[in-house]
Amino acid sequence: MSEPTAVEQYETLLAELQAVVERLERGELSLAEALHLYERGAELAAACQRLLDTAELRVRQLDSA
């Protein structure tokens, strides 16, 4: 089985970011919790962008035998 692609990493990061945003938007948190969560969101967004900036296409060729 192949190792995870950048797509899977992106999906994982994006799903967590999405969850963070939704929790922030629900607004049931204390300010301290919200700030903490926001920092996590900012980290996730930065990690996503980094991933998108540095991704390199992987090409694998099957044997035609």
Partner: protein, 397 residues
Amino acid sequence: MRAFSVSDLNSALRAHLEEDGLFFDLWLLAEVVEFRRYSSGHCYFTLKDEQASIRAVLWRSAAERLARLPANGEAVLAHGRVGFYEARGEVQFVVDQIVPAGEGLLNAQLEQLRARLEAEGLFDERRKRSLPPLPRRIGIVTSLQAAALQDMLTIFRRRYPLAEIVVSPCLVQGELAPASIVAALRRVYAEPVDLVIVARGGGASEDLAAFNDEQVVRAVAASPVPIITGVGHETDTTLVDAVADLRAPTPSAAAEVAAPAVVDLRQRVAELRDRAAGAIMARIEEQRRAVDQQVTLLRRNHPRRHLDAARQTVDELDRRASRAFERWLALAQTRLQGLQARLSTLSPQATLARGYAIAQRTGGQVVTDPAQVQAGEQLQLTVRAGTLLVAVEDANE
């Protein structure tokens, strides 16, 4: 000498004709005569040209797959094999496809195949699957020789470098191409891909024949994951296009539609980041308002405010007190004047003025009773205008 039965002979003839494979997979160019369709659904007719004829049969199963049945006198291309009907010792041509001869053999075959596949429902729109929004592994079935593969890889590097591309090479033209494409498809289906592209750069339309091959078309239709075709140029349409989940006009176009562009993914991240920032700003603003409210409340409850209030109360009481005092004072003065007035009416002077006199003993004692004095005692008598010294003659009443 050995005598055969007729059955033996016909059985041997049938074996000879049908089992050596010589008369399989034939196309006959002929005219249809004596066409009859039986209630069983089987059709019997004769195929002939100027010099010769042969009995032909079209079994119901084959007849049902035809777009339309041939008519008497029609020139046709009939595909089938030679069979031998032992019971009557007759040779017959067993037809499985039959098309009007006018359109050219290749076209006719293609149309027959198209009609057959369509009848099977392979082109049905309901079969079309939607593409994965973020494909992880994309299989590409194409030739390593053509520019098409490099064009597609260039597009993926630029637009969507997140994926893994699994290239399954094959021949795309020539007699061996169909089998090669089918094998390449099967190899890529065995990989954990979630999308497949079958591609072939442009070429003369006969070079695209492999993509009209029945086995290739069926292999594409059998893809376990969504499959995109990018075969030939814009104007070419092949049967694989009709069974694919999505038909792109060229290999490059197939790569473009296969995945979103990385700029769109960046945009999605940026949107979420902005939403997070918006939410936290709103939260902070809300907090600030709450603090402002607390400050207002606090100000309202500051001790100085109590003092002020107390002072105000005191001032008020003070004002009320002095007003009361003034009123009291005024009242007192009025009363005093009244008293003075009454006092003045009671003063001895006023009584004296009316003609009365006050008698006092030498010690100043006012005489109100004759028993206070003795005869011969001198008394001072005060009248309005002065005093008199008088002597008491008689102290009896």
